[in-house]
Symmetry: C2
Subunit: 447 residues, 2 copies
Amino acid sequence: MSTKPPSGTRDFLPEEIRRREYVVRVVREVYESYGFEPLETPAFENIETLLGKYGEEGNKLIFKILKRGEHEASGEADLALRYDLTVPLARVVAQYQNELPRFFKRYQIQPVWRADRPARGRFREFYQCDIDAIGSTSPVVEAELLAAVSDVLGRLRFESFEIRLNHRRALTALLECAGVPEALHAEALIALDKLDKVGADGVLKELLARGVGDTAAQAALAFFAGTKEVTDAAEGLDRLQHFVRGSDAGRAATEDLRSILALTAGTRAHGRIRIDPSLARGLSYYTGAIMEIAVPDLAGSLGGGGRYDNLVGMFLGRDVPACGFSLGLERIIVVMTERDMFPAKVSTGAVDVMVTFLTNGLRADALKLASELRAGKLRVEVYPEVSPKLEKPLKYASGRNVPVLAILGEDEQARGEVTVRDLQTRKQEAAPRATAADWIAKRVRIS
Amino acid sequence: MSTKPPSGTRDFLPEEIRRREYVVRVVREVYESYGFEPLETPAFENIETLLGKYGEEGNKLIFKILKRGEHEASGEADLALRYDLTVPLARVVAQYQNELPRFFKRYQIQPVWRADRPARGRFREFYQCDIDAIGSTSPVVEAELLAAVSDVLGRLRFESFEIRLNHRRALTALLECAGVPEALHAEALIALDKLDKVGADGVLKELLARGVGDTAAQAALAFFAGTKEVTDAAEGLDRLQHFVRGSDAGRAATEDLRSILALTAGTRAHGRIRIDPSLARGLSYYTGAIMEIAVPDLAGSLGGGGRYDNLVGMFLGRDVPACGFSLGLERIIVVMTERDMFPAKVSTGAVDVMVTFLTNGLRADALKLASELRAGKLRVEVYPEVSPKLEKPLKYASGRNVPVLAILGEDEQARGEVTVRDLQTRKQEAAPRATAADWIAKRVRIS
């Protein structure tokens, strides 16, 4: 029988967990400093809660759970594994509407499951990290989400990142003003998105092939091609506003973006935002601002989000204003690992000192010594077996990246001392029991 | 459609999560201070990994996942949700045998799923918290597990708890010496376990009914009844040792217990241990010491464990020494909630200060103020909507348990100040922007 984890899933051994937890801790600390609160929902939902919410393609990727007991033989499913964190949020908002605060700001960091074909970097079990503010239409919400994600990336030491900002209704207005009929908006965006890859001529050809008229195609293309060099947000916004000036919705949308830009001025998002009129992020989902985070030399994004005012109310039967951001946690961890961005302490060993005893009569005292050292805030492992020679404990400690060995022999015990050996420099000395913790702490903090 | 979570599962709203996370943090910090490291495995396993590992009853309680795509119609399952954390550990030990340290000390805190009939306090999705040390037969391992769990309970402020300690082979020897045939050991233990409930006469009747002979029943009963008053561990051990003196295995087992007792002398487990010869914890599973934690006025335990040297190697095809402890995380949280044992900070609000602005022109500055306050390590929420009157923000802040309101009006802005209001005393004063964070921090730390 195979002892590998199931296809598309992973076991996380300690070193990997330390990296994951470091990122999660930063994310949580930052979002909590903005007043976001944690939410957790069950791994599975009643199947009817999930079915029909993710389109036909999504339906096929849902893991379904067989009925139990006498109903198992029916082959029917009544439960299904969580496919994302948005539908559970919508259910929670409906279920606890009288208990939740008027502005419900929640983050949720939990795994989701999708029966995708596994591939490099694509898993069937992966963590999503969703941050949503429910209940307000104020652009303060968008600005805070951008400020918070900028704080997160700053704390994780992503030196240069860019926030791409657009607006769902500005995008619609833009295509309208270019003369693209609404029915072709989705098609046009697919073509326009390839500008970097296939160049202006390629996009023009594709726009025409997808049924966009020549004048409209030229107009849209000219606008999009021209925006690529504009990195200043205010300038980009002026350019967009000018193009959509004939549309009421377009003017309102660009005013909205102008508010968001102004509101981020005093935050860490300042100077990071670029207006990107080509940003679409799934046309149908969002109703207002849309945003995405990019870092240099990385295809794709580290996360994205936007305002989606008609989704969270799906179980309530009425619209509920919502604006959210989904951080690409798995992606961030991969990039930080590849680029060696973790602080040294994250990748050093889990133990500060290992206690080893030379005779069996010293075992109890070795455990007492370990307790004393723990009282000094050290992480202490006891080598569990008697080791008259140090060979085995030394080999084990080196494999575990332990910096200090505390050796307890009968001589040491008689003198009320312990021999502390720095496993890097191989220097060792006798330390009084009372000060051994300090000695080791000093050694460990320096390294 | 119902918006409740599926039967037997729970949504965790922020306040509940804060309680859960407090407990988990203490558990992790303590176990890490003993050199235990985190492990995480996927929510589901290949179905053949789980089937047949939990007996016939267990098999029925496993949540099975339907095959996907074209195979869905077959009604067959190929995956199943994790039922415990021990079988995944055994799989991990086999899969990564060349990467794991010789002594693999891991903790794993993850949900498991069982299709039990839901009842008060019994869930279909619940967290297990398993701590296991793999690879050594030394009693140092048992002693460290007992020391660590005592540290956990101490840090969680369980003032009085008792560790019940027994030994699988001592128990066998004990029944043998009483004259109970091995085939009836399990039956006899079921009867003897009811001593507190049905009294000596009741147990005797039941022993006879279950086929134990009169002499053996009397002997076993006399021993068990006599142990109830012995609280001193050394005395209890002497008594046990005397009873099993005719059995080699019994003598070895009591020597083992004696070592464990001696080894805990310098740790926080000292004085907590009682030898409980009736402790069985599922006869078939353990091979050495067995232990369980009890607190006054609580039926059942807060956790238990022991040595089980032939289980973790199930996928390796050879015995692997192992000793583990499973903390009853869900139970601990319930007891601590009922007994109001959480520190005040755990149940106070998630936000230190809420910023509110009196005109829309002040929005950007309000966000800037929030950034300044966050730089002073405060958790800051911004009331997202303009509030010329304070009525709504005050009501909202009170519902969220926010201690301080920071009010930004045009006068305040002109003077470089902010009005800070203590929402408990209702006192307010103008504070310079530069020192506002300090003012609030002082107010918040005091409360």
